[in-house]
């Protein structure tokens, strides 16, 4: 399978503080990869480096074989190939639900208004928000906002979808509706890279799980291998901590 994204020796530091150290990994076409790890392990930073919301301090990011950090690439044209779903939703506050899913298509992809509307409606239906097209983001609940944000990303018909802790800012009863949509997407063959704290979800949908600890990839493997027989001591520790908290809740 073709590698969509390949990262080599990626580093990111803020001053003396090294957040990512020599990261190397890749995402293949049609693969669902989840990144797990405790807070501050660098998972979100890694995701944000991939679409250059954070500029890496060193290393290479290859998108379909081309190094996009070599300075010759138009960054907005690269970013439109990657969809991003944020922890804080970040819906465009000045647009209603439908326009949130249309503005990128019209301005960035130069689609006609009619085509953009058709595409937007199609994906709003996928996430079950087609009835709310006239609502403004402020009028929606967290779970609804996140589903619209997913539809907005899908409307751009990206090559890869990046999810940055998409359920971490949600009330517990809304986590389910968002995970349900994401599971459907994962099974539909989309290429997805997901940073998450939802272990059951990661176990269920991932083709591969990456465990990050203190800015490095400590271990990666199939969900079966990672959750049932982790090789590294720190992976075991992390999973034990997480599932103890989980059981207590």
């Amino acid at each position: 399978m073709e590698k969509v994204i390949e990262i080599q020796q990626l580093n990111k530091s803020y001053g003396m503080n090294e957040v990512l150290k020599n990261i190397g990994f890749s995402v293949h076409h049609g693969e669902v990869v989840t990144i797990i790890g405790s807070s501050g392990s660098g998972k979100s930073t890694l995701l944000r480096c991939i679409n250059l919301l954070e500029i890496p301090s060193g290393g290479e990011i290859h998108y379909r074989g081309r190094n996009i950090l070599d300075g010759s690439h138009h960054i907005p044209s690269y970013r439109k190939k990657l969809g991003m779903v944020f922890q804080q939703f970040n819906l465009f506050e000045n647009h209603n639900v439908l326009n949130n899913c249309m503005v990128g298509q019209i301005k960035v992809l130069k689609r006609s208004k009619a085509e953009a509307e058709q595409t937007a409606r199609k994906y709003l239906k996928v996430v079950g928000m087609e009835a709310y097209i006239n609502a403004k983001p402020k009028q929606l609940s967290g779970g609804q906002k996140q589903r619209v944000a997913i539809a907005r990303a899908l409307s751009m018909e990206p090559d890869v979808l990046l999810f940055d802790e998409p359920t971490s800012a949600l009330d517990p009863e809304m986590v389910g509706e968002v995970l349900k949509v994401m599971k459907e997407l994962a099974h539909s063959g989309l290429t997805m890279l997901i940073v998450t704290h939802e272990m059951d979800f990661a176990r269920e949908v991932s083709d591969r799980v990456v465990f990050m600890d203190k800015g490095v990839i400590a271990e990666e493997g199939t969900p079966e291998q990672m959750f049932s027989r982790p090789k590294q001591e720190r992976t075991r520790e992390f999973l034990k901590r997480t599932f103890v908290e989980h059981d207590r809740a």
Partner: protein
């Protein structure tokens, strides 16, 4: 008796007052609108991220420096002085006699622009960082992001401050009498002089100024409400 004089002055000079009020409104409206456009442009330029290429970086640095000088100079000097300097200065420097009305428009616009640039900068800073990230992540360029996502939110945010600037302009255009612009203060002075009735004439001007500023405030409040849109929304029927 003053009251009789007020009535008499209004009866005999209402056309003058009306003309002055009209001129005051025209200058402050044009000045505020052009000033707001200057402010928006300055705000957009001042928030462009530092480009990678050296040549572009130098250009952006110089543009920012010029804007800073402009803002500091026009915020740091009184408009009455700016009016005299621009009106008589242009005549001396370019040997060109500017129409007073043109000079008035320039002075008020450029002065307002300096204040609006700071108001817009504040407005852009107050837009949530997530909005910028989402626009970038979807593949928008700086200009696309500004035009479609950020500025519409900035304009809503700065509307109260812009209204305030408009009200300030209605009152402060009175300083343009130093270059003989026939606005309300200038014409009131001549009415007062002709009748030797200062209190009564300026009392009338006072009422007119207040009516203008109050009306403008109300109209802007109405616009703010309309921009916010309705609190409810229509559900789309399933199909």
């Amino acid at each position: 008796m003053s009251l009789e004089w007020i009535v008499k002055i209004v009866e005999e000079n209402w056309q003058m007052f009306l003309r002055g009020a009209g001129m005051t409104l025209l200058i402050s409206l044009v000045g505020t609108v052009i000033g707001a456009v200057i402010g928006l442009l300055a705000g957009v330029i001042r928030t462009i991220p530092t480009p990678g290429r050296a040549a572009q970086r130098i250009m952006l640095k110089s543009a920012n420096l010029l804007l800073t000088v402009y803002i500091e100079v026009f915020r740091g000097t009184p408009m009455i002085v700016q009016a005299v300097v621009i009106y008589y200065g242009s005549a001396m420097a370019f040997d060109f006699n500017m129409n007073v009305l043109t000079a008035a428009f320039i002075v008020v616009s450029v002065n307002t622009g300096a204040y609006m640039a700071e108001i817009v900068r504040g407005g852009i800073l107050s837009v949530d960082k997530g909005q910028f990230e989402a626009a970038h992540a979807i593949g928008m360029t700086h200009m696309q992001m500004m035009a479609n996502i950020v500025l519409p939110q900035v304009i809503r945010n700065i509307l109260p401050a812009t209204g305030n600037q408009f009200v300030i302009n209605i009152k402060d255009t009175s300083v343009l009498n130093v270059i003989s612009v026939s606005e309300l203060y200038f014409l009131t002075k001549s009415v007062a002089g002709n009748n030797f009735r200062y209190f009564e004439s300026f009392f009338v001007a006072c009422v007119i100024y207040f009516v203008m500023t109050f009306t403008v405030t109300r109209i802007l409040r109405y616009f703010e409400k309309r921009l916010d849109g309705s609190k409810s929304y229509e559900m789309e029927p399933a199909r």
